[in-house]
Symmetry: C2
Amino acid sequence: MGNESSYIALGLKVWKTQIDRADKLFGSLSSEEVLREIAPGRNRLLYLWGHLTATHDAMLPLLGLRDRLHPEFDVAFIANPDKSQATIPSHEQVHRAWNAVNGELQKGFERMSSSEWLQRHSAVSEEDFSKDASRNRFSILLSRTNHLSYHFGQAVLGLKDRA
Amino acid sequence: MGNESSYIALGLKVWKTQIDRADKLFGSLSSEEVLREIAPGRNRLLYLWGHLTATHDAMLPLLGLRDRLHPEFDVAFIANPDKSQATIPSHEQVHRAWNAVNGELQKGFERMSSSEWLQRHSAVSEEDFSKDASRNRFSILLSRTNHLSYHFGQAVLGLKDRA
């Protein structure tokens, strides 16, 4: 039990480090900067930010914590590419949703016991989980942390020439 | 013990998934493509690949596995920015080193026991480790996996317009 909680604490620490870095970068964007592309013709920063918010929001039910806060973000930021929709959530809406979703996750993480981290996540059936127990909630935490790092590395490119 | 090894197996699985994705992308590059920049004026793919190789090479002593294979990569890929050196390791040298370094890491990972993963890594002193036990080998595994994802997200941008 003691050691088990060490691994969970490490997973949560790496998640928090990446969230804090992303908070700092995205939270500092002006309304002009948020519309910049990460490279010519590629995704805008607002799209990446919304995409990460929608992905994190989907973690809430996946980890058995609660219903999603912003399922409506999926049309704009998951199911369709950037610049394909007539309207998408605004800078302010994404910023608020990002904070709310990550806050709910953090609260939920603090309530989860070690045994819960090794339970199946809600997108895998009991049958499939009995064949592959690695499809658990801790694996969602690790893979979503890497998903955040992946897009954060891209977001940084959109701002290298700032200041 | 049983549960402890589940967390380690999950950490190793996420590492392996990112290595396999990077293998596939970098391993497929032509000698012309490897010199492409990820965005105008930014790092070339060869630099990112060498940077990841040097970072992974440094994990060998950090995890107590063995001496580095390619300490000479640091001048070209860690200590200095891209396009600042008269000569850097070639495409073939980076490719061979990438395979060798990740192969050594994989062999080392398979030999490590659960208790070794929670031991201090070699860049932290015993005294500092006694104050913060999270500075262990498992934390190196998680943070280097995220470092790989971060740069992989950038590398993908250099190739989006490839067939």
